[in-house]
């Protein structure tokens, strides 16, 4: 076991981890932050996406020890300071960008990373950016729509 320290959602945290402890395990089991989900064991579903030093990372494909000293943000840290939904979160609710909610934390984290890099993405850029985030409920339609809306772009779609 080794000691690891990092900042999670703006708060300093420390914990004892094995070498093989993944960041997602540290977050869920060590810190009780269960908003970050595990949907696969091949690092493809994206339900575990968090931000490490501002970049989207799959928390199931990085050891906790590798996040030593890093600034980690999880879905629990995404709401506005007053506790209300952030623009992206609110857009997901407004546009029905989630159903069962299981992929949602990863989707929101990826969406936030996308808009930080590219504030006005095209539909194709949004779809491309979500390559590593699987959703089985929404058919992606309303997720893409929500992200477009959160970027302040028109999301009028024919026949709706």
């Amino acid at each position: 076991m080794a000691k690891v320290s990092m900042s999670v959602n703006g708060k300093p945290v420390t914990g004892e981890v094995e070498g093989r402890t993944l960041l997602v395990q540290f977050l869920r089991e060590g810190l009780g932050l269960t908003g970050t989900h595990v949907g696969c064991d091949t690092s493809q579903c994206g339900a575990c996406v968090v931000h490490v030093d501002g970049r989207a990372v799959k928390a199931c494909a990085i050891f906790a020890a590798e996040a030593e000293g890093a600034e980690v943000t999880t879905i629990e840290g995404m709401a506005d300071a007053d506790g209300s939904l952030s623009t992206i979160q609110q857009a997901f609710q407004d546009h029905h960008g989630l159903q069962c909610g299981f992929c949602t934390p990863g989707m929101v984290m990826s969406a936030a990373a996308l808009l930080a890099e590219n504030p006005k993405p095209s539909e194709a850029e949004v779809r491309d950016y979500l390559e590593g985030n699987l959703c089985r409920c929404t058919g992606y339609h309303n997720i893409v729509k929500a992200i477009m809306a959160a970027s302040g772009q028109d999301v009028a779609i024919a026949a709706e």
Partner: protein, 263 residues
């Protein structure tokens, strides 16, 4: 995952020392290795993370114009930092996996692993790049030795890949629908001295050079130049995503498209 010792040295020397220990394995971004460990398909006694060694990361241009890419430079960083100097390589890097994978995965890890469906080996081989390790330099033509096999010795750490920059180049990938790895990917690079064509994803032997296409394209750098050529399906991979014949066909189609894209 089996248990292992985990180290995250800050210098290359420390890393080299740690890698000399029994059953030590280098860890780059871990985007392939960590899933492999999770499936318990590998059991290193010690993992040596290379990502805290500053000298191994970053992109620079050498005096001779070659692009030097540190082994732990992430795909995302290469996509950004190589864009001005070697756009075809940057484009390849920017289309590996997904954004989260690109933020962690490293070129050194990919090249050392030599997955037969990985993208970088095609760029390295087609560019005639040099793989630098802590104590030697290996030419790309000597480096890739078949599926998951390279010229690296036990404990040897890739430190840098040095890419001669071609006059024109492009990479075309046809994705396997599930993994989005290359079902077939072709990197075409046109140098003053001739054209190099490297094919990944297709062959049982891993990345390879399509020499007939190189000759034809060296004489006439246009998609038409290869229209009469065909690749034998003999050594191609056959699986649920495509037969050997399909892969051989795709290699030709992607070569033509890469030539067209390179302009």
């Amino acid at each position: 995952m089996y248990a292992f010792e985990f180290d995250r040295p800050a210098t290359l020397d420390e890393a080299i020392a740690l890698m000399s220990e029994e059953e030590a394995q280098a860890l780059g971004g871990g985007q392939t290795l960590i899933p492999t460990l999770k499936q318990r398909l590998a059991a290193p006694a010690r993992l040596v993370s290379l990502t805290a060694i500053p000298e191994l990361a970053g992109v620079c241009v050498a005096d001779d114009g070659a692009l030097c890419v540190g082994a732990t430079t992430t795909h995302a960083a290469i996509a950004q930092e190589a864009a001005a100097h070697y756009p075809a390589l940057a484009a390849l890097a920017g289309n590996i996996g997904d954004p989260a994978v690109r933020n962690r995965g490293t070129i050194g890890g990919s090249v050392a692993n030599n997955d037969p469906s990985a993208c970088y080996p095609a760029a390295v081989l087609a560019s005639g790049a040099t793989i630098k390790t802590a104590n030697r330099e290996i030419a790309a033509d000597d480096f890739f030795e078949g599926m998951f096999a390279t010229a690296l010795e036990e404990g040897e750490i890739v430190t840098e890949i040095r890419f001669p920059v071609p006059e024109k180049a492009a990479y075309m990938k046809f994705e396997q629908p599930a993994s989005r790895f290359a079902l077939v990917g072709v990197f075409v690079a046109k140098f003053a001295g001739g054209v190099r064509v490297a094919v990944t994803g297709a062959s049982e032997e891993g990345v390879f050079r399509w020499t007939e296409a190189e000759e034809a394209l060296s004489a006439n750098f246009s998609p038409d130049a290869i229209s009469g050529l065909s690749l034998a399906a003999d050594n191609m991979i056959g699986d649920l995503h495509g037969t050997p014949e399909y892969r051989a066909h795709l290699a030709k189609v992607m070569t033509g498209r890469a030539v067209a894209a390179a302009g």
